[in-house]
Each structure stands twice: as C-alpha cells, then as structure tokens.
Amino acid sequence: MKTKSNIKVLGIIAVLVVILPLVVQNSYLLQIFINIGSWTLISLGLTILLGYAGQISFAQAAFMGIGAYTAAIITVTLHWPPLLALITTAVISSIMAFLVGLPVLRFKEHYLALITIGFSVMVFVLMNQLSDITGGPGGFIGVPPFSIGSFVFKGDIANYYLIWGTVLISIFLIINLLSSRIGRALETLRSSEIAAKSMGINTFLLKMKVFIFAGVLAGIGGALYAFQLSFIAPNTFNVLESITYLTIVVVGGLRSVWGALIGAIVVTVIEKGLTHLLPLIIPDAGGELESIAYGLLLVLVLLFIPDGLGPTIAKSFKNKRNMTKSSKLKTLDQSN
C-alpha cells in the first residue's frame, strides 16, 4: 500500500519535473532547480544510512568529490567518453565505500563518523596536493558536458533533465528496495539491531550495502555536477560541506524516501531566500546571517519536528485524507 502511494507521488513529481522548464524560462531559477536535484541525489543514500542503519557519515562531500574528479580525469586526461566515465565513477565510489566501511560498520555509530571524517580529510588533501592530476587548489577546468553517443547534454535544460532523471530513477529504486526483502530487513534493523541479528539478518552486510549505495549516489551526483559546471575545485568537497547534506537529511526527515528531496528544497529555498531577502532588510548583511539561520533551522527542526518535515507532512496528509476520504471521493466524482 505504502509502495503504491509512493509510486503515485513519484509519478506526480515526475510530471512536475518534466513540465517545470517549459513553464519557467528563467535561467537563474533553472540553475536553482538543478542545484536542488544534485543535493537530493547526494543526500538520498544518507537518508537510509542515517534513518535505518543509524550510522552517521561525514563522507558524502568526499564521495561527491571522488565522483567529480574521476569524471574529470577520465574525460579530459584519458579522453574516454563521458558515459564510460560515469560508470567508472560508480565503480570507484563503491570500491572506496567498501574499503571505508569494511573495518568500522561492525561497531557503534561514532566509529563510522570518525573514519569518514578521516577519509574526507585525506581525500581533500589529495585533491589539493596531487596537482599534476587534479589541478590542485585552483581546480580542474574544462570538463566536457555529459553525452550519450552523439547526444550532448549541453545547456541548462539538458542538464536539468539529466540530473532530475537520475534523481527520479534513484528514488524509484529506493522505493522498490524498501518494499523488498532488504527493505524489511532494514525496518528490523531500525527497530533493533539485536532483533535483526537474531532473525538471521547479517546486519554488517546490510549496513555495508546501504553505505556503498549512499557513496555511489553521491559519486554519480559529483560526476554530474562536474559535467554540468565544467569546473571543479577541492573546496566544494571539503568535509565541512558534508554537514550541509546531513542538515538536508535531518530537515527533510530520516526514514522517508522523500526526506532528501524535501530537505534539499527547504535548505535551498532558505539559502537562496536569505541571500536575496536579507540585503533588502539589512543592507550590509553577508553570509553570517545565512549560516545563523541555517544552524537555527537545524536545531529548531530537531527540537520541534524530530521526525523531519517529510514524515510529518505525510502524517498530516494521511490524517486529513482518512477524515475526508468520503467527501474527497465525492468531489473527485464531480470533477470527473
């Protein structure tokens, strides 16, 4: 039942995503939608990792960076086609995630937090220091746009569809995953790891799969980011940037397929909104008020809506629907 309604929602979102660029011709707004798409993609896996496996990872930005640099190096230095680069990116991110997760996923949550901090710092140092390969702190210039065969994803609209297509496919995969055997195992893991173990679930393997999945999605997100912007620099993939993705997930709601999407929208809207609104109210306000608002948002959501916005919206929607189901059906009949 839940799966069906989720698929329905996904359908509605897909229609909205397709229509949007036809309605909105403003390239700035389109850029914002692309941004929301990549943030969703990078945070998606984290939703399951935090929500079901209870593990904190600070490595989302690092995986994004690995994806971006892999894509850049493969297309520019090795002259491979972008599609092959994207596949390689997925393979490399999954290997990296496997290696990072291998020693620590057996233990309690803060070990993964620790190792992912260490891993992110190491990746960041390498991006800066291996300047022959990565371009160093100045960044990597001239990544070609993504292409499949002779079709080149050039321009904002093509990239918009590319990123949102990937987001929708990933959400579809997660919906299916959660309604499968793995999903039920995750549900057990969430309520009690001991119970999951005694049911014969290999919790280590399960957490590993989720961690790799999160890493691969972030890696692909990073590669698409590189193809879209054609320029990448290490600072985008700093460990501190990972906190943004944690914020997105917490604000949007853990354990909800829609958490990452809702969180990405809310955080982007707040960020962009503050950038434009604050100078109107306080002329010389800079980024500081943005980050205060950002932190406050995180704290307030956790204090007052600990489940995040996603599940809370869903719950209120469900309550309303149950209460007015009959009347709604009537109005539907009338409109038909």
Partner: protein, 290 residues
Amino acid sequence: MNIEQVILTGLTNGSIYALIAVGFVIIYNVTGIINFAQGEFTMLGAMIVISFVDFGFNMITAAILTIIIVMGISTLMYGLAIYPLKNTKNSLTTIMVTMGLGIVITGISLLIWGTEARPLAPFTGNRPITFLNASISHQDLWIIGSCAVLVLFIYLMFEKTYFGMAFRACMSNKEASRLMGISTEVMAMLAFALSAGIGALAGIVMAPVTFAEYDMGMMLSLKGFVAAVLGGLTGAPAAIIGGFVLGILESVGTGFISSGYNDFIAFAALIIIMLIRPSGILGHKSIKKV
C-alpha cells in the same frame, strides 16, 4: 627538522587537541552526547579573550572573564537546546543538534568579529628558548603548561572532591547515581559548563600562536573528537593521550614528509590505529558490538 623539534611541536598541538578531547569525554560520559560544538568553545575562548585584551583588560582578568562567559554560553546552550531533548532515545538527534548549535555560534561570531584572523600578543617574552636541540617559544610552554595544570586540576577534582565523586558516579552508572540522590540533569549541565571552560582555556592559550578565526571551531571539534575516540572515549587521561598522539602524528607528517600532507598522514595513521585497536589506545578491550 630534527626529532626533538618534531616532538615538541607535536606536544604543543597535542595539548590543544587534548584539552578539546577532554571536553568531549566529560560530556560524553556524563550525558552520552557527542558534542560537536566543543570546538566552538575554543574559538569563542580565543575570540573573547582577544576582545577583552583589546579593551585594555590585563591578560589574567581577560582570561578569567572569558572562561566565565564561555561557561555561561555553554550552560545556556544546554538549557535551551540539549535539556529539552533529554527523553530522546536517538543519539543522532542530539549530535545533530550540537552541530546545528556549532553552526549558529560560528555565524554569530562572524557577525561580531568579521572574517579576518585576529592576533594576540604572546603572554610573555618573544624570544624562543633552546632546549636540547629544539627551540620552543614562551607561548608553546604556556600551552603545554596549562594542559599539565588542567590535568592535575581535573585529577584532583574528580578524585578528591565530593562533586568529583558525584561526577564519576554519573559516568559509571546513571540510574544508580540517580537513586543515590544525584541529579543527573544538574550533572549534565555542569559537564557542559566544565567542558566549555576547558575548551575556552585551550582557545585562550592557543590564540597567540594560531590567531583566532571565526570558522576554526568545526575543524577543532573534528580533531578533538578524533583525539577523544583515539583515546577510547572512556576517560580524561585516555583523551589526553589521544590528543598527544594526534598532535605528534601531525607534526611527524609535517616535519618529515611535507607540510601539505600533514593532515593526510595524521588521519591515515589514525585509521590504522583504529583498525588495530578499535576500542582506542587506552579503551577497554571488549568492545560493545550490539
């Protein structure tokens, strides 16, 4: 660079990490919370002390006022954002709250003090002292010295006072200590205040060496956390050793390989240590797997 110099530099940086790590461990053991705003206390300590000195206060008054203010901020933080979560079973929520608080504090500091790095004159003379084959500045001695004094202070407080006994009771068994009439909420609040005071002290002594920048808190939190886990998150002595290990690993990386790679070396070594001893250097051997 010679080995003595590397070790001395490591001890200096390690003292800072040790102080931050002790703050982590005190809060973690009393409340079960990993406080990612810990580095912000250090940033605030450095920032506020510089402001007081700029106002014309002498160093000692400025330091004492700073520590009191930072402890007050921490208590306020506990009361407003951490205490309301006392019934939350999900430790993730509280960790994320402390991170959010860290971001808020960083933002407010940016608002007050701006982006430039703010200097502070060393407490005493500028001439480095030569010791064995290494040279060490007065300020480095201040850093190492205050770490040593603090360790002594913590030891005496925890082992010799009634208050320390209540603290230890809370650390070892929350339920039992509540039954004995110890208010765990008050203890948690005091843990936050104490950790903030220690963090602020770290900020005050390091300010002349590193300068103070509004955004240094989060990185200090991460490094302090790393040092604390390296020590096993069990107690203050282990955290201090964790801090020194991290500091020395970093300075070995800088001194013998390349300054660009020091973080890489430190964290690579850290991961290797964690693989060999997942319970930390001084941690209990039996690790809770469930």
